[in-house]
């Protein structure tokens, strides 16, 4: 995957901040059509082949930020204000949560081995003599690979003394853990197969052209804030360390943005853990089934359902932390609009199927709100969360291993200290092709563990596709916040 900070990401965040700023200043309607030109004015140095392509890129990225399903938009004559209108009119957001920007897609060639011009056409020709299928010939003093014969074993690359042979990948395809991305046979543009997609968002973080984006809900949230609706922010525990200032200054910042209440999803994580432990006692401790796995990561739950059906029966039925806290919010203030704020794209999918969660923002998107409103978080006073205090283990949920810690804690809380030995955990840190095959094997074999924690993102939620901060830095802050809890864990 790409580094956390890069120019694709930068453009997205800065466009989001600009759209929101103009929206709150009542100027978006009149100015939105000009943004692509302002971002790539005449005689400026183009990023892509020319300023016109740059403008088209900006236009399409704005469309994704307005939440438009770009694949479905056929009429290219419509200007951005038309799409803004459309976004402002919608009452609800819908699936799919991702969208492919065909104009940005580079139509990468199929993955293949390629001989670069470092090839010296040497006399030993180790590439040619080591190829098991005779796919390499030297033409005009340079090795050439016959792609029809090549079996992609990589021997030639290994043998070349000049490192002249490279493997050219297709970043979105090779980072998709479940093979959900293919290319249109004619146009070679990327296509997502939603029967396979698990909404992990890894493609959005790997395409160097930014051709796959999640459909943002910033405009939906901004509209409701501007209309003075009663909005409740549900903030995921990985928010600790995403922004400058303290967690409690963050609460004030959210209130300044216009949220009437701020609930901590870490408290929901406590409820999830307690409920999962009860399930563990009923199902695993009783001997009814051999193991159990967490349900809090929606990308993992989807992976089990769609790709490892034999594992599905081991995945817990317990509602996620988001579901628990959203239910509390809606019970307390039935007329409220709830907004989950987290690092995750799969949560957008989960929320569409949960009536208690109205919208989802990523941390990047929330950052755009702060910039648009000119909020200096570290200058604000501190404010308590409006939800009950979370435990240390609830706060530790977003780091790999955090779920196991929480389950361990509640097993000994509920069944006594000695019982915690009965929990035998195993961890999968990040879904990739290799880990998925491990999970497939686990599902069918006898194992010496009985609880499997799976996090779709490496390092846990702190490594999610919507984060701002380095996962290690954020992880350390999550740990110290977790130690500060006054209610145990």
């Amino acid at each position: 995957m790409l580094a956390l900070n890069n120019k694709v990401n930068y453009l997205k965040k800065s466009l989001a901040a600009e759209l929101l700023k103009l929206f709150f200043e009542d100027e978006l309607h009149t100015k939105i059509n000009n943004i692509p030109i302002e971002r790539a004015p005449k005689f400026s140095q183009p990023v892509d082949c020319c300023i016109f392509k740059d403008r088209a890129m900006v236009r399409n990225k704005i469309m994704a930020l307005l939440g438009i399903n770009i694949e479905k938009e056929e009429d290219e004559t419509k200007d951005l204000s038309f799409f803004l209108e459309k976004a402002l009119k919608r009452e609800k957001v819908n699936c799919p949560v991702l969208t492919v920007i065909d104009i940005a897609c580079h139509s990468c060639e199929k993955e293949h081995y390629y001989v670069t011009d470092l090839c010296q056409g040497c006399s030993a020709r180790p590439c040619e003599s080591n190829c098991p299928v005779g796919a390499i010939k030297v033409v005009n003093g340079r090795s050439v690979i016959d792609q029809n014969k090549c079996v992609k074993c990589g021997r030639c690359k290994e043998m070349c003394p000049y490192n002249a042979i490279v493997y050219k990948t297709v970043p979105c395809e090779s980072n998709c853990p479940v093979g959900a991305i293919s290319r249109d046979p004619e146009t070679r543009k990327a296509k997502i197969d939603y029967d396979k997609c698990i909404y992990c968002g890894k493609c959005t973080k790997s395409c160097p052209f930014g051709a796959i984006m999640d459909r943002s809900q910033i405009i939906d949230v901004a509209k409701n804030l501007k209309d003075g609706k009663n909005m409740i922010a549900l903030v995921a525990p990985s928010i600790v360390g995403q922004f400058p200032g303290t967690v409690f200054q963050m609460v004030s910042a959210l209130k300044k943005v216009g949220f009437s209440k701020v609930y901590e999803v870490a408290y929901g994580a406590d409820l999830t853990s307690k409920s999962e432990v009860k399930e563990f006692i009923e199902k695993v401790k009783s001997g009814e089934q051999s193991m159990m796995s967490n349900s809090c990561c929606p990308a993992w739950v989807k992976t089990a359902k769609k790709h490892i059906p034999e594992f599905s029966k081991f995945v817990s039925d317990t509602p996620t932390p988001m579901a628990f806290i959203a239910q509390i919010a809606k019970e307390e203030v039935p007329s409220s609009i709830t907004v989950f704020i987290g690092p995750c794209i799969a949560k957008k999918f989960e929320a569409i199927h949960n009536a208690d969660v109205d919208y989802v923002l990523t941390f990047e998107e929330l950052g755009a709100f702060f910039i648009a409103r000119g909020i200096e978080i570290s200058e604000l006073s501190e404010n308590e969360f409006d939800s009950p205090i979370s435990t240390g283990v609830g706060r530790g949920f977003p780091i790999s291993g955090g779920v196991v810690e929480a389950i361990k804690y509640y097993v000994s809380e509920i069944c006594g200290e000695e019982a915690s030995d009965e929990l035998k955990p195993f961890k999968i840190d990040g879904l990739n092709k290799k880990n998925i095959s491990i999970l497939k094997r686990i599902a069918k074999s006898e194992n010496d563990f009985n609880f499997v924690e799976v996090m779709a993102c490496e390092d846990g939620c702190v490594g999610g596709p919507g984060v701002i901060s380095n996962p290690n830095l954020c992880g350390r802050k999550v740990e110290s916040y977790s130690k500060e809890s006054s209610v145990g864990g």
Partner: protein, 82 residues
């Protein structure tokens, strides 16, 4: 001595400055001795519309749009060599 004032105001932090917190770990011991690092609140540039965040002030000169921590280290190294 190279004086480095890293802005960790909201705009700079969100646009990539969050990663600047890694800088201490990334500079060598030798380099660290030659650099005076300071993390400062919003320098005001983000609101003036001049330039793009993240901003870093190095020996009184403002640098803009430093996309990641490695780019910042490069600039600091150039200044050490001056």
């Amino acid at each position: 001595m190279v004086e480095v004032k890293i802005c960790i105001g909201t705009a700079c932090y969100v646009m990539g400055g969050a990663n600047f917190l890694l800088i201490k770990e990334k500079l060598s011991d030798k380099e660290r001795k030659k650099v005076k690092l300071e993390f400062v609140p919003c320098l005001g540039y983000c609101k003036s519309g001049k330039g793009k965040p993240p901003f870093v002030l190095i020996n009184g000169k403002i640098y803009e749009k430093i996309v990641d921590v490695d780019a910042l280290i490069e600039i600091i190294r150039e200044n050490i060599e001056k």
